[in-house]
Symmetry: none
Subunit: 202 residues, 4 copies
DNA sequence: CATGAATGAGGATTCATTCAT
DNA sequence: CATGAATGAATCCTCATTCAT
């Protein structure tokens, strides 16, 4: 029960399989085959199928949280911070398309399965955005008539849905930079204090 | 007439059950019980379980499309149109919380199940938003550096995620008006042409 | 869920299969095949595998209890009653060899599986014997230095083990009458009050 | 030497675990944990799970046989011999409650698993009782109308079932002496030649 | 000899779907 | 049209056994 490498292999395989088939239609044997281990081996590392899903989710979200935290630590301008957050999120999702899918599944399905599961990692992740908004508001850069807890959902929803572009064949032509740029245009302009300067505009 | 009535009862029951338990954990017998018909009766009106999901989705989205089309027909100002769209969407979802859930499930899961299913109703629905954006751009009211096909996803994602507020106990304190108002602030400000006037501002 | 006939068929099949293979090595599909129903049908009548075992047990023991109660009602002499009990038990087990096996399995295994299951039927069955012993004691026919609750176990154990004769090929040559006769010799002589007359002896 | 020690540890652990959980619900890992060895180690000393059960059984029954043989060698009176047998059996079962359980399991289950297994040890054990009966009959002390091969089953069944008293919480109040005494009353009285003297009676 | 991670066959159970009534 | 008992394919998970270290 100590082979971390094997655990990672299973997580990676599960991410791929869940993304491709969805949580419910994915079979344990699919994951096992993808990870090149026996079915039973999976249960040496995870309690059950749901546990795999949650683990995939938490592990991956955890990584993003760590990355973004590190990046944000180097910056003090809320606008730049928002930019970094958005860009990083989209980059990660583009790089790991399956992850975007798994997040979607997780957020919309697991709560039906395991009522007691409180998705603290996800809350932590979106709360980072709410904090940036609050910071900007306190500095007079962002409108104060925007509720940070609504904004965070708004922004996350937008990011999440936009990420689906890379997974559905349609509209796959846009690059991360394009999309991030456009999203930021709208977000930053939309959230800036009325008399503040718009990002990228003199 | 009797048939249509029974079909509607099943659709309503399915919406409720899918919303509560999710598509996969919902059982046909749950829907049958909710609709007060026998399990077998359901198969007189639908081909299979997926067919019910798609029917629920298309029927409900169809209604919204019709409603919004009617409303939009009375208006020519793209900003007002966007406002109407957003408000109407949120109102509908607030009124019928289950619907919001089913939409979420449908969009993220069905495509895994039935590859051949092209969700034309949904595309039609979001394309209406893209059209409004295009209209605004042609009138010089909206920024032209925003790609309408990205904007529609961005806006829909934001609306969809925000709708989850009413289904998760957390943050249930916000009213439709508040949320719609804040969303519109960001959207309209964000999308307006730089020298255009902000909505609600002289 | 009302076809009592089908339920009986499954009970009969289960009795046979459990007797032949033992509870744990018996597969649900074996029972289904034996009963000529689909595997799933079994779950329309029973909650799970253990439930089948318990049902078989209680149903069959219940029948014996009813039979013996009826017989005992016609008799007042405790010695004759004991004779009837013993003979009836052995006859039933001889006729339905599988039942003897299932009782053995049930008594020695189920309590490991379902702690909360109180085998009231079985207790009722053996308590009938304790009651006969008490009756005989009160009439001065049976020794009073014998504890009825120990005697009932003693007698049941003897009957039960002796029943195995018909299921193991060895010693299959003895008839019910022979065995019942010998058992009764020992039991009645053993339990009679020292100065009472032995059964069948002047 | 070291090997034998480890083998004994496993036997002891298995006895405990089988008694507690039953053969089928017991896991090899349970036994390994109880014996404080690795799962794989068990397979250095036993061929498979059944082999453990049989070994436990034969080893323990073997010990009892040896003990009883030794005791019986000192005695010539069949009545006393029967008394010794019964008392010794109950004492052993009381001291090692788990053993009583394992015997019950073994006798009722293993024959379903391994058809080819002839339980010679057990036969040897009960045949000792048949031999005592025969001896008593030849000396005119025991009734000759009792078949020794039926009597041995009868007596063993009674002993075995009575032993369950210590394992089920109910009726745990009886001591070995009490139970052995009562059993012997019945057995000896029941088996004595009609004009012979009853045990413990002048 | 000892370990325990890995294996993979096996089986109880569920539930969408059918069809005789 | 409506019913709901019956079907049986499908799958998660367990655990005895193996074998590389």
């Amino acid at each position: 029960m100590k082979d971390l490498n094997k655990r990672s292999k299973i997580i990676a395989a599960a991410t791929k399989v869940f993304a491709k088939k969805g949580f419910f239609t994915a079979r344990i044997s699919d994951i096992a085959k993808e990870a090149k281990v026996a079915d039973g081996t999976i249960y040496l590392y995870f309690n059950n199928k749901y546990d795999i899903l949650i683990s995939v989710f938490e592990e991956e979200i955890g990584k993003i949280i760590d990355q973004i935290k590190k990046i944000l630590a180097t910056e003090t301008d809320p606008k730049k911070m928002l930019e970094m957050y958005v860009t990083r999120h989209l980059q990660t999702m583009k790089k790991n398309r399956n992850l975007a899918e798994v997040i979607q599944i997780e957020l919309r399905q697991t709560n039906k399965l395991i009522k007691e599961y409180r998705n603290t990692k996800f809350i932590e992740y979106t709360d980072m955005m709410a904090d940036i908004v609050r910071l900007g508001q306190s500095q007079g850069l962002f409108r104060t008539d925007i509720e940070p807890d609504i904004a965070k959902r708004f922004f996350f929803g937008a990011l999440d849905e936009v990420s689906r572009i890379w997974n559905t064949s349609a509209e796959g032509r846009y690059s991360v930079e394009e999309i991030a740029g456009q999203l930021l245009q709208i977000i930053l302009t939309g959230i800036s204090a009325p008399n503040g300067r718009l990002a990228g505009q003199p």
